[in-house]
């Protein structure tokens, strides 16, 4: 299986690469201005988090929009990748009322393949100034935390997922399981 990581300038982009590698996936970190034509024959794509303030100025997110429109396969957006996804599909991302850094508690509200086999509440690691404030049409919110209502979302029918928290971080509970669940989708996208 081949799943690449689009680098949006995150501190944990390389951690995403490591988690995928440890799960036995062929993976590579690619810059976010890579033409979508260069991302063929992949089973899935991860859009990393990063320093760009999507809630203020989404212009530094390179070709993420093209990937969301034209990439043929499951996509997992993390942090900035998740916020950009919301904005791109007609939702909203803005500076968070209460930014979260470090430990937080995830509350899974909607069962989904991404959280299959996991408890409803567990500890996750955060690092964000902006957040999704309005879900895009066609998306459903899956999980929240005490200070952020959209911690996870997905498209109702397409395999497109967004996470505000960081499943790739060692201190996030069940992060590896979340990636494994995403890989199951990549294996069998429909």
């Amino acid at each position: 299986m081949r799943v690449f990581v689009v680098d949006n300038g995150g501190q944990w982009t390389h951690r995403e690469w490591r988690v995928l590698k440890y799960l036995g996936v062929e993976t590579k970190i690619v810059p976010n201005d890579t033409p979508v034509g260069g991302l063929q024959d992949l089973d899935g794509l991860v859009l990393s988090g990063g320093a760009p303030r999507v809630g203020v100025d989404p212009s530094k997110m390179g070709r993420n929009g093209e990937y969301l429109d034209a990439f043929d396969g499951p996509i997992l957006g993390i942090c900035a990748g998740h916020q950009f996804m919301a904005k791109h599909f007609g939702g909203e991302a803005a500076p968070a009322k209460v930014p979260e850094f470090g430990k937080s508690l995830l509350n899974v509200r909607e069962p989904d393949v991404l959280f299959e086999g996991l408890p409803d509440r567990f500890e996750v690691w955060e690092s964000h100034n902006d957040e999704v404030t309005v879900l895009p049409p066609g998306f459903v919110g899956l999980a929240s935390s005490p200070n952020c209502s959209v911690q996870a979302m997905r498209h109702r029918s397409e395999p497109i997922f967004g996470l505000q928290f960081h499943p790739e971080v060692e201190h996030t509970q069940f992060g590896g399981e979340i990636f494994r669940n995403f890989l199951k989708v990549c294996e069998n996208p429909r």
Partner: protein, 315 residues
């Protein structure tokens, strides 16, 4: 799949052999990363490698002697450079953490280029690991801090870089170190700029001596507590000299002395961390010993921040 240290070693020895036709020097601090890189490079290059260690005057207690022994044990060519005066002179009056890191980085390269020339080396091997280049930033990635071995390198550097550990984190480097039989495989991480970034504010020999003495007590007490089974050894543990003076009372006399912060964290890879839940009796011993044994320090605080939002080191 797990990280395969043996396969990694075979692969990297081959890559280093292909990359370096002539001679190379390795910048070796005696820590896990650079010592592991030195052994890898030693396997690939044998006598064509020279390990260079710089005593910056910013090292921990007995560190230089300890590193010298490590390098002797490894059986690699090595040189110990004593440059404390040069470093303190270059750092005089500098309190900005990024400036400190840049100055130290430039000084390192100056010395390495000199040694490389003498040895006839065209390559510089470094024990750079993933968090070093990640936190140093570049393009979209913000610079969290300058790691001297990445962002501290001059643009016009002539030495060609060889960095076999670039894609590894500390836990993986330790696995490689164990497979190579490196004595310092379990040593706690220590920053390249050494105690200069653990003295908040101006870096003087006196202030470095204070944090060195306090750090030695933190290390001794935590290691003793761990060996007595009171706690597990944290991932990293040290003291920081905080530029805050506070009032104390010593033998019915007023004192106005320095403050030391104790920092201990749990991590796997250094990219996220939680503060260690050290038993109070251990903190109590650390506090009593530092305030009694290190003259000039009359207050000890414990840092209870995670990463993020804080970083592990204070600068």
């Amino acid at each position: 799949m797990k990280f395969d240290a043996e396969a990694f070693i075979r692969e990297q020895v081959e890559l280093i052999r292909n990359a370096v036709a002539g001679r190379a020097i390795i910048a070796c601090s005696g820590g896990v990363d650079s010592t592991t890189a030195a052994v890898l490079a030693g396997r690939a290059l044998g006598d064509r490698l020279l390990a260079v260690y710089v005593d910056t005057g910013l090292m921990r207690k007995d560190e230089t002697e300890d590193v010298e022994r490590t390098l002797q044990d490894l059986g690699v060519n090595h040189r110990i450079l004593r440059a404390a005066d040069e470093y303190f002179a270059a750092l005089r009056g500098v309190s900005d953490p990024e400036k400190k890191r840049m100055i130290i980085g430039r000084k390192f390269i100056e010395l390495f280029e000199r040694e490389a020339k003498t040895f006839g080396a065209e390559h510089l091997v470094q024990g750079t690991i993933a968090p070093d280049w990640i936190e140093s930033g570049g393009q979209l990635r913000d610079r969290i801090k300058t790691h001297h071995n990445v962002a501290g390198l001059p643009a016009d550097m002539k030495l060609k870089l060889v960095e076999p550990l670039r894609d590894l984190y500390k836990d993986e480097v330790r696995a490689v170190a164990r497979a190579l039989g490196v004595r310092v495989a379990e040593r706690q991480p220590f920053p390249g700029p050494a105690l200069a970034v653990r003295v908040i504010g101006d870096v003087t020999p006196e202030r470095v001596a204070l944090v060195r003495a306090a750090s030695a007590i933190v290390e001794e007490e935590i290691q003793a507590a761990a060996s007595r089974g009171l706690m597990l050894l944290p991932w990293q543990y040290f003291a920081v000299l905080v530029p805050v003076q506070t009032v104390g009372v010593h033998g019915d006399l007023r004192v106005y002395g320095h403050t030391v912060a104790v920092r201990a964290v749990e991590s796997i890879d250094g990219m996220s961390a939680t503060y260690s839940k050290i038993p109070h009796e251990v903190l109590d011993r650390i506090s009593t010993r530092i305030t009694n044994e290190v003259q000039g320090i009359n207050r000890v605080v414990y840092d209870v921040s995670n990463k993020p939002p804080a970083t592990i080191e204070w600068e």
